[in-house]
Structures are given as structure tokens and as C-alpha cells.
């Protein structure tokens, strides 16, 4: 897991306070999954779980980046657009005949660059992250439609291979390569947050930026870095999305930033910063995935009822999470 195990000195019987939100989330997630299994026949298939990962791999990666940002007390609204822009640029370059490797490199550079610039604006000019990243969101979305106002299919061999390669067991259950990439990102992020100075600075800044500054921590550098990381994660997410859909579409991932923020917060990270874990974010993404799967399996909901039920499940989940959190504390 993450640093959770590390700062706990002596073995203690009572639940450490800071793990309560994450544990509550985990428990509720299992309950929700259980409900699905008991209600819908095919729900218990292993592949259903795998599909949740396959379908949310890119979301997971982006959410990991967002976790860094939110841990510092910031927010990044540009992620959805950057994801779309990365997919769009890749598709466009591939369409133009560029080979896969340079396309990957370019696509993976754009996001962090934008993130870096946003981080600089936030740090040096002290403009609120919400606004800077909102402008970033407009910019990236604008670039998408600027490149093309219709979706561009990807036929490149590498992309198709990444998209359609199945890694699975003999019984036919499989995951995509994207899932593995997402897991690597999660592990690296968890390690960085728990074990590196940079990671700890992120928590410190989220706890109290002024104190962090007075404690002599490189606040500016760390702050710029988290937006760069978020940009990088969005770029990776964008690549994964382009594997996933084998195309770049200008209006894809609209509103994704809200899903991502929701996932991070449901995972127990506090929006004011300073506390939370990557593992929680993984759970948050899974919660959203399971809600969606439940609704599809049900298959009887009207369009508007879908929205109402998503809202309702979200509410029930957050309410329970909160109540359990209070009780355990």
C-alpha cells in the first residue's frame, strides 16, 4: 500500500485515524460489489472486474495525477481536456504518417509542458489554481477542435496492438496492456508519495504552505512539479484513451475532470490538501466504475433515471462513508 504502514510506529490495536476513510471506502466498495453479484447473474464473472479496470485505466492514471495536485491543496481542471488533446494530437500525427515512437514522445511531452506552465503561473503570479487550470482546460479543448473538428481514427500498428492485445488466463479472462500501465503508474506514484522527499513535501504543502515555506521546503518547486505530474498523468491517460478508442475525438473526455475529482475525494483525500493516499484514489475510481457497471447490468433505467440513480448511489456512498468514518473515529 502506501505510506500508511510506514509512519505507524508501534503495533496498535485501534484503527489509526488516518486510515479510517480509506477503510470505510474499501468496505463499502465490497458491499456494493456484493450487491451486484447477488442481483445480476453474470456480475460475478471475473471478467466484469477486469472490465472495470480496462474501462477505467485511463481514469485511474489521471486520478493519480490529480491526487498529487489535491494533496497540495490545489486543483487541476485541465485534465479532461489535456487527455483529449493528447489523444487528438497522437491521432493527428499518426494520420500524418509519423511513426509511433516519435508520436508517443511528442504526445507525452505536451501535457507536462502545459502542466509546467500552469504550475508556474500558479506559483509565480499567485493566481488561483482553479482559474489557471480552467484557462488550461479551455486552451487544451480549443486545441482539440483546432486540430480537427471531427474524430480521427488511428490505424497505426503499434496502437492497434496495444489496444487489442489481451493478457489473460486460459479461461478467457483478460486485461489490456493499459491496465498494466495504469498499475505501474499507481505503484510509482504511491512510492513517490510515501518514500521520497518530494512526496513528503507534497503533504507538507497541503498541510500548511506557509509553514512549509518557513520550514525551508522547496514549496515553489514542488508546487510546479505537481501540476507537471498531473499534466504527465493526463498525457499518459490520453495515450491510454487513444489505445482504448483507437481514435482522437475533439469532444471526448468532456467533464472528465469532475469524475476524476470525485474519485479522488471519494478515495478519502481531502480537498484542502495534506491528507490522502493513492490507494484511496484507486478505490475511488473503482467505486465510480462499479456504480456504472451496476447501472448497465440493470439495463432498465431511463436516460434521466440513470443520472438520478448515479447521483443517488454517489450520495448513499458518501453518506455511509462519512457516517462510518465518524463512528470509527
Amino acid at each position: 500500500m502506501t505510506s500508511s504502514t510506514l509512519t505507524t510506529g508501534r503495533p496498535r490495536l485501534r484503527l489509526p485515524h488516518r486510515h479510517v476513510p480509506v477503510l470505510a471506502t474499501l468496505a463499502l466498495l465490497l458491499v456494493m460489489y456484493g450487491i451486484g453479484v447477488s442481483q445480476y447473474r453474470a456480475f460475478s464473472n471475473v471478467q466484469v472486474v477486469f472490465n472495470i479496470f480496462i474501462d477505467n485505466g485511463f481514469l485511474l492514471v489521471v486520478a493519480v495525477g490529480m491526487t498529487f495536485v489535491i494533496l497540495t491543496g490545489g486543483i487541476d481542471l485541465s485534465v479532461g481536456s489535456v487527455v483529449a488533446m493528447t489523444a487528438m494530437v497522437s491521432a493527428w500525427l499518426l494520420e500524418g504518417g509519423l511513426p509511433a515512437l516519435p508520436v508517443l514522445v511528442i504526445a507525452l511531452l505536451i501535457g507536462p509542458t502545459l502542466g509546467f506552465l500552469m504550475g508556474c503561473a500558479i506559483h509565480f503570479f499567485e493566481i488561483q489554481p482553479f482559474i489557471v487550470t480552467l484557462a488550461g482546460m479551455f486552451f487544451a479543448r480549443g486545441m482539440c477542435t483546432f486540430i480537427s473538428d471531427r474524430s480521427i481514427p488511428i490505424t497505426d500498428g503499434f496502437w492497434t496492438a496495444m489496444s487489442q492485445e489481451r493478457i489473460g488466463d486460459p479461461r478467457g479472462n483478460f486485461v489490456s496492456i493499459s491496465v498494466l500501465i495504469a498499475f505501474v503508474v499507481v505503484l510509482v506514484a504511491a512510492w513517490v508519495l510515501a518514500y521520497t522527499r518530494f512526496g513528503r513535501n507534497v503533504y507538507a504543502i497541503g498541510g500548511n504552505p506557509q509553514s512549509a515555506l518557513l520550514m525551508g521546503l522547496p514549496v515553489g518547486r514542488a508546487r510546479i512539479a505537481v501540476y507537471t505530474i498531473s499534466g504527465l498523468c493526463s498525457a499518459i491517460g490520453g495515450i491510454l484513451l487513444s489505445f482504448y478508442t483507437l481514435s482522437g475525438a475533439p469532444l471526448i473526455a468532456v467533464g472528465m475532470e469532475l469524475d476524476v475529482i470525485a474519485a479522488v475525494v471519494i478515495g478519502g483525500t481531502v480537498l484542502t490538501g495534506g491528507s490522502g493516499y493513492v490507494f484511496g484514489t484507486v478505490l475511488g475510481v473503482l467505486v465510480l466504475g462499479v456504480i456504472q457497471t451496476l447501472i448497465t447490468f440493470d439495463g432498465s433505467l431511463n436516460s434521466w433515471w440513470t443520472k438520478i440513480v448515479i447521483g443517488g448511489l454517489l450520495f448513499a456512498f458518501i453518506l455511509l462513508q462519512r457516517l462510518i468514518g465518524i463512528r470509527l473515529k
Binding site: N51, I54, A249, D298, L301
Partner: protein
């Protein structure tokens, strides 16, 4: 929100299960489309698994994956965008589940990934609109200034209708589009854009709106500018939803090219055929027509949506 436990799976009772992934409920047209599919499924005794993707391709892909898991007999969906379906369609194919596209096409090179595409021809709708205008302005000597209210940027209907219309009016050099801007398929959008069109262009002869709603929104703007819709400005729209037909019958619109959402019965027929392994044509157009003001007055009483 939980259903009965025996949903999903090709039940042995011989009833066909159809998984249908809808784009969303973003317009009255779409809602009518959904209703049509649901009603037709009930009438045809087909078990429908309906999923609303809320205008997100990701959600549609997820839904299709889940349909595959549930082993439905046929999958049908209205793709949000054209590209990006190969992977999941391949999975469906591997699971031996036939796929029917409705309303919008996909651009897969591998045509074997789906059985057929049932839907309107947006280019044709644009072309029919343009041709009607050509006919009306045959005698015009001076230039005819057209403004165009486009649909959501990048969406297939917007692109195709624009294309069809432009192709048709190219025949007469007098006809020119002086301004074209996206009104997002909504009334509010149509109105706001039209207000600016009216201020920037002193002489507007024709308004071509990619759907009824934008046209309806523009009506208000035109009236506010002291002009009479349908007379001072010829208005052409697409869709023929009830409010649009009403405006047409009232003489505020001049021409509507129909784009019918009532695909349900045709879809159920196809689903049965495909499930039975019958061959179906790869492209099936919905039955559609066009309306002038007189035709609208006749048709209005028995419009279903």
C-alpha cells in the same frame, strides 16, 4: 435500483435479448428515439437492455463490454462519435454477438465488425434543404445571403448537413453563406447566435438551421430585430419535431427536412433477422420525407413526437 436476478444471458425461453446503448437524452429528438426503441421492443417481445451513455464514448464502450459479459443476443448502439470502436466491436465479434448501428455510422475499415447500419442520411437532409432553396430562388437576380446555424461542432449531423447543403447550393452562384456559426443544437444557442448574425449582417435572406430547436430559438431573435420570420427571412430547418412542425404550419418556417427518430420497429425487425442468422443489407435508411408549410398543416395532427 436493482432488477430481478435472472436478467441477462440468452435465456432459454427463446426470447431475444437486445442490448441497446443510447447516446444520451440531449434533445427531444433523442428522447423520441429512445421511446420508439423501447416501445418497439415491448411490442416485438424482445427483452431490451437499455443503457444511456450520457454523451460519452467511454460510457458506450463500457456498456458494450458489459453487454458482452451478459451474453445478450444482439447489440445495437448509436455511436457518439465515428471513430474508435474497433477494439470493442472485435470483442463482440469474438463473443459471436452481432452488432447493429443506429442513427450514426462508424468509420471502421473492417465492415465485418457490424451487421448493418440503420439510420438517416444526414448529407441527404442537407442536400434536400439546399435543393429546395435552389428551387425557390431560381428567379432571384441579386445575391441571396444565407446564414447557417450549425449543430454541435464536430458532430456527424452538423458536418454532414453542412456538407450536403453546401454541395446543393453551389449550383447557383447567387447563393452564398455569409455567416455560419455553431448554435450547439439548442434553442438558447440558436437565439444568441442569430442575434449577432442580425446585427452583423444588414441583409439576411435565408436562415438554414441544422435542427428545429435552433431555428425556433432564432425566431425570437428575428422578431426582436423587427423582421418577420418566414417572410423577410426564409427559414429552413431539419428534424421535424412537433414544435418545428407547428412553426412550419404557422408560416414561421418555410421548409423542414425530416429526420425521423422512429427507428424502433425497423431496429427490432433487424434484430430478429440478425439473430436468426439472416443476411441483411449493410445500409438501411430510415423512411423520411420533407415538409413544406402546406404539408405540415396536413401532417401536424398525427405527428407522434
Amino acid at each position: 435500483a436493482c432488477g430481478n436476478s435472472d436478467t441477462g444471458g440468452a435465456a432459454d425461453d427463446g426470447k431475444i435479448t437486445l442490448g441497446f446503448s443510447q447516446v444520451g437524452a440531449e434533445s427531444g429528438w433523442r428522447t423520441a428515439n429512445t421511446t420508439s426503441v423501447k416501445e418497439a421492443a415491448a411490442a416485438a417481445d424482445i427483452e431490451l437492455k437499455f443503457d444511456d451513455a450520457q454523451q460519452k464514448q467511454e460510457n458506450q464502450i463500457k456498456a458494450i463490454r458489459n453487454f458482452i459479459q451478459q451474453k445478450v443476443d444482439v447489440i445495437a448502439f448509436s455511436p457518439v462519435v465515428e471513430s474508435g470502436w474497433d477494439t470493442v466491436l472485435k470483442e463482440a465479434k469474438d463473443a459471436d454477438i452481432p452488432v447493429i448501428l443506429t442513427d450514426r455510422a462508424v468509420d471502421s475499415a473492417d465492415k465485418s465488425l457490424y451487421k448493418t447500419f440503420l439510420g438517416s442520411d444526414f448529407v441527404k437532409e442537407g442536400r434536400l434543404s439546399g435543393e429546395w432553396l435552389l428551387e425557390q430562388t431560381k428567379s432571384a437576380t441579386g445575391p441571396v445571403n444565407i446564414v447557417e446555424l450549425q449543430g454541435t461542432t464536430g458532430s456527424a449531423p452538423a458536418n454532414d448537413r453542412k456538407k450536403g447543403f453546401a454541395e446543393a447550393i453551389a449550383a447557383n452562384p447567387n447563393l452564398s453563406i455569409v455567416a455560419s456559426q455553431s448554435g450547439d443544437f439548442t434553442r438558447a444557442g440558436g437565439k444568441q447566435v442569430m442575434e449577432q448574425f442580425l446585427k452583423a449582417n444588414p441583409k439576411i435572406d435565408v436562415l438554414f438551421a441544422h435542427n428545429d430547436d435552433m431555428g425556433l430559438g432564432a425566431l425570437e431573435a428575428i422578431t426582436a430585430a423587427g423582421k418577420v420570420p418566414g417572410k423577410d427571412i426564409i427559414i429552413i430547418t431539419i428534424d421535424a419535431v412537433r414544435d418545428g412542425m407547428q412553426a412550419l404550419a404557422d408560416g414561421k418556417f418555410n421548409f423542414i427536412a425530416e429526420c425521423s427518430p422512429l427507428l424502433g420497429p425497423q431496429l427490432m425487425d433487424l434484430a430478429k433477422k440478425v439473430h436468426a442468422g439472416e443476411e441483411v443489407p449493410p445500409r438501411i435508411e430510415t423512411e423520411e420525407t420533407t415538409f413544406t408549410q402546406e404539408q405540415a398543416k396536413e401532417a401536424l395532427p398525427n405527428r407522434k413526437y
